[in-house]
């Protein structure tokens, strides 16, 4: 074994030499193809169900290869579009507003904590830090948000509770500390700049990578959130797309509002493509994420590694 390795060293450099054998490479590849399939097959399956005709689902159940393909589920959703478009609007508005607010609040605090000479630095550090180890829990947050802040059935209930996280603030602080030298801040101050100016003109523009990372974390969190909605929203007009999906899991009928002429609501409900439309809704939620995440993936990873550096 050793002899052969040494002999090979003369011909190949170590990086190609130190490889697993082709047979093992192939078997690893097979294994990873299998895992990758397990990860995406549910989506493919749900997509196939969404384009199966309701009749073939009734006959054979969900199948990878249905008897008959049909776009009736999507057509139905298109016809009943009001509710979905509204829910998509709510989700988009909450995502945009929440991400913007979150980024501003997080970077502001991160900047403040990154200034070592700040007199009250330790106080504000505690403000950010204590919630990381202790929190009020679900019940008392619920009681405060509904009875003290009166957020029930408002869009604020979806936006505010998620907008700051101590983890993000600390990532941000670390980034500023590592990338914005104190000497720059000091020289700007000597030139008469206030901290607002320094933040807006120097720190924020220099922190694009970390802003991108935090914005991504936040926007995926907002887009995927259904929990706040299930706690605080009972008004169907304020349902986000996720909570709409959550509700129709139990009650598809709430989607049916638009019977065509000459059909009673009952008949209309009986004829609607219940199973397919449910799955089509899920696909509508997945598509924007599936199309965007491969491009943003590296920011997620870099964000997590930045977080690991202690500042």
């Amino acid at each position: 074994m050793r002899k052969r390795a040494v002999k090979d060293m003369d011909m190949a450099d170590s990086s190609t030499l130190n490889r697993i054998s082709p047979a093992i490479n192939i078997s690893f590849n097979v294994l990873f193809i299998l895992f990758a399939l397990i990860c995406i097959i549910p989506v493919v399956f749900v997509f196939i169900i969404s384009i199966s005709s309701e009749q073939s689902i009734k006959l054979n159940g969900y199948r990878f290869w249905p008897q008959e393909f049909s776009l009736e589920s999507y057509l139905f959703l298109w016809k009943e579009g009001k509710m979905i478009i509204r829910a998509l609007g709510v989700s988009a508005a909450v995502t945009v507003a929440g991400t913007a607010m979150g980024v501003i609040l997080t970077t502001l605090m991160g900047y403040v904590l990154s200034i070592r000479k700040f007199k009250f630095n330790s106080f504000f550090t505690m403000v950010v830090f204590i919630p990381m180890i202790f929190n009020g829990g679900m019940i008392s947050s619920y009681v405060i948000n509904t009875q003290f802040l009166h957020l029930k059935n408002t869009l604020w209930a979806l936006i505010l509770p998620l907008c700051v996280s101590s983890f993000h603030v600390i990532i941000c602080k670390t980034f500023f500390k590592l990338n914005i030298p104190e000497s720059i801040v000091e020289s700007a101050q000597i030139d008469g700049a206030s901290h607002f100016t320094i933040f807006a003109r120097i720190a924020f523009p220099l922190s694009k990578p970390i802003v991108a990372t935090i914005a991504l974390f936040l926007s995926f969190a907002y887009w995927n959130d259904w929990f706040q909605s299930s706690l605080y929203i009972t008004d169907t007009k304020l349902f986000s797309i996720q909570s709409l999906l959550d509700h129709i899991q139990r009650n598809m009928e709430m989607m049916a509002k638009n019977p065509s002429l000459g059909v009673t609501l009952q008949q209309y409900m009986n004829n609607m493509p219940k199973e397919g439309a449910r799955m089509a809704m899920a696909i509508i939620i997945i598509v924007p994420i599936a199309c965007t995440y491969p491009f943003f993936q590296r920011y997620f990873i870099s964000g997590l590694t930045v977080g690991a550096v202690k500042g």
Binding site: N18, I33, R116, I130, I133, I139, Y142, Q147, V164, F196
Partner: protein
């Protein structure tokens, strides 16, 4: 040299504490105000709200939270007594802790093994494709994941029941069968988190000094020996840190996993799927007096605080740089 710099900053820090507040300090304070208000409203107020665990909290129509708290009677530990006497406490505690332990052990073992294997693949391009595909479930919400699961387990239409009917067996009510749920939950947890954890471990593997491997090859070490004596020891610290930090959160359960997948975490599968969080949530949605539910919530907050502090103390012993405090 490094110590010198540290000493210097320490000095300037102590100076900063003693001097009067300058204009710059007030500007910074002003900038911190919005976020601090957020923290007060959404983090510190709920901490104060924990007081209702010790109250016979009643909501009077038209009155605010503070009024209600002041006018509710003290209940002492009555809420806790109620919680302890109910049989549910044992079940939800057991489920929360045992599931978390299984998730931590199996989750990190699988992720580490896959990361090491992924790193050995010949083709970088393929490895990137696999990573991207395996990262996908991480971006799905549990509501969507519940739909995926339903496509397979649904009684009338689900794929598994279809196949069972095809071969002449009777279909199974999966959503009422409490024996299969531990497996379903573990599989779904691994499905959603493994890709993500694998990528994290992979990034720390790529940080290992390549000359170590070159030296090992010259010494005649095979791939297995390299993994055993170089890769795993280099990953040891990361693995231990992740392990301990996850143990710190052992009283928290991933609410969506337990609640959405099981479609409510109640009924005949309650014993297999209910955790502290699903229990509290279901109680909140029902007519149970809020004081009693808040006792469970209070317990969770305090227990979690303790485990986080203990876990962090242990991390500090092992590697000071990785602790959070």
């Amino acid at each position: 040299m490094k110590r010198g710099i540290r000493l210097k900053t320490l000095n300037s820090n102590t100076k900063a504490k003693k001097r009067k507040a300058t204009k710059g300090d007030w500007e910074l304070t002003l900038m911190a105000v919005p976020t601090t208000i957020w923290y007060i409203l959404f983090c510190f107020m709920p901490m104060f709200g924990l007081i209702i665990a010790f109250k016979d909290y009643k909501i009077q129509p038209g009155k605010g939270f503070i009024y209600n708290v002041i006018h509710s009677e003290w209940a002492g530990f009555k809420n806790f007594e109620f919680l302890i006497k109910s049989n549910d406490l044992y079940v939800i505690l057991r489920n929360t802790i045992v599931y978390n332990l299984i998730f931590i052990v199996m989750g990190s073992a699988l992720a580490v093994i896959l990361a090491i294997m992924m790193n050995m693949l010949h083709s970088r391009k393929r490895s990137k494709v696999y990573q991207t595909l395996m990262f996908f479930p991480y971006f799905m919400s549990w509501v969507v994941a519940a739909y995926f699961l339903d496509a397979f387990l649904n009684y009338d239409n689900g794929l598994i029941n279809n196949m069972m009917r095809d071969v002449g067996k009777t279909a199974n009510q999966w959503y009422m069968n409490k024996n299969v749920w531990p497996f379903i939950l573990v599989i779904m947890y691994l499905w959603k988190s493994t890709g993500y954890n694998m990528v994290i471990y992979l990034s720390s593997i790529s940080g290992i000094d390549q000359t170590l491997y070159e030296a090992a090859v010259i010494d005649g070490a095979g791939k297995w020996q390299q993994t055993r004596y170089i890769t795993l020891p280099s990953l040891k610290n990361v693995i231990i840190m992740m392990f301990i930090l996850n143990v710190g959160k052992i009283f928290y359960s991933d609410f969506g996993l337990f609640y959405q997948l099981s479609q409510g975490a109640k009924g005949s599968i309650f014993n297999s799927v209910a955790t502290i969080d699903t229990y509290v949530f279901n109680a909140l949605k029902s007519a149970t007096p809020i004081g009693m539910t808040s006792a469970a919530s209070f317990f969770q907050s305090v227990a979690c605080c303790i485990t986080i502090l203990v876990a962090n103390a242990i991390v500090k012993k092992i590697d000071n740089e990785s602790s959070i405090i």
